[in-house]
């Protein structure tokens, strides 16, 4: 894999799992997902500009089972990256570094993002069926 020979730090399986590790890994993973998701938004804009047929095709793709999974995944990735991103901004300002605060804010990112995702999908599904 690597063309440089350097000593490596122990890999993930060496460490005991902690919520701070999970939030850090998820922040990167959801960031990558959202980068790809932005291209889906561009696709939606292109189809909206292209005309009614193209836009209906886009809506059919998004309303299909696979499309719904992608949208649910995108929405959680969005809310998680949003919550944890705000947490990082607070930490960048120098606050919340005590271990207890750090652990608590990690759990808050995970839980609030799930609650927001749930609220959005309850709204979508009760406001008269999927998009």
């Amino acid at each position: 894999m690597a063309d440089t020979q350097r000593p490596l730090s122990p890999h993930l399986q060496i460490y005991k799992w902690q919520v701070q590790m999970v939030t850090s890994i998820l922040h990167r993973a959801t960031g990558i997902v959202l980068a790809v998701g932005t291209l889906l938004i561009v696709w939606g804009m292109l189809s909206l500009a292209a005309g009614e047929d193209a836009f209906n095709q886009f809506k059919v793709c998004m309303g299909s089972p696979l499309g719904m999974i992608v949208m649910i995944g995108w929405s959680w990735a969005f809310f998680y990256h949003l919550c944890n991103g705000v947490r990082h901004l607070v930490q960048d300002a120098g606050a919340g570094y005590a271990i207890s605060q750090f652990v608590r804010s990690s759990w808050l990112s995970v839980i609030i993002s799930m609650v927001l995702t749930l609220l959005v999908w309850v709204y979508v599904l009760t406001a008269g069926g999927a998009a």
Binding site: T4, A35, T38, I41, V42, M45, L46, A49, N56, G85
Partner: protein, 131 residues
């Protein structure tokens, strides 16, 4: 040639581009400033799209054609892709240790992001101007 007496690096090291490239601070700040922008733009986008879930094509297009929505949409696309490039750059630097793959990916994400931003902006212009 820079003759900074405090720089302890050998000039050859600088010539080969080893060590700090001196862009770290602006990368860090741009990542944070785009993050703050995306908190607002992302929430706006999600709320706007949720409001359109049962809209027909004409309504969806007319909503996005409103000047404020068009401006915010282009702002979202540019900010989001910029933030994505900065984030993906760090991921690539951390995990891709083969130099040619690293450089290839760095260039590829920038090409994709610029193409995505241009395509999205053109689509929004077509929607806003009715072309």
């Amino acid at each position: 040639m820079s003759t900074n007496a405090k720089d302890l690096r050998n000039p050859l090291k600088r010539a080969r581009g080893l060590g700090s490239a001196q862009f770290g601070v602006s990368h860090w700040w741009t990542q944070r400033v785009t993050a703050v922008g995306l908190v607002l733009l992302g929430l706006w986008l999600v709320i706007t799209v949720l409001g359109l879930q049962h809209a027909d094509y004409a309504t969806a297009r007319a909503t996005m054609a409103k000047p404020w929505n068009a401006v915010l949409l282009v702002a979202f696309l540019i900010t989001s892709l910029w933030h994505a490039v900065l984030g993906l750059q760090v991921v690539i630097e951390d995990y891709v240790h083969t130099r040619w793959k690293e450089v290839f990916l760095m260039v590829a994400i920038k090409f994709l992001a610029v193409l995505g931003a241009l395509a999205g902006a053109l689509a929004v212009l077509r929607i806003a101007l009715g072309a």
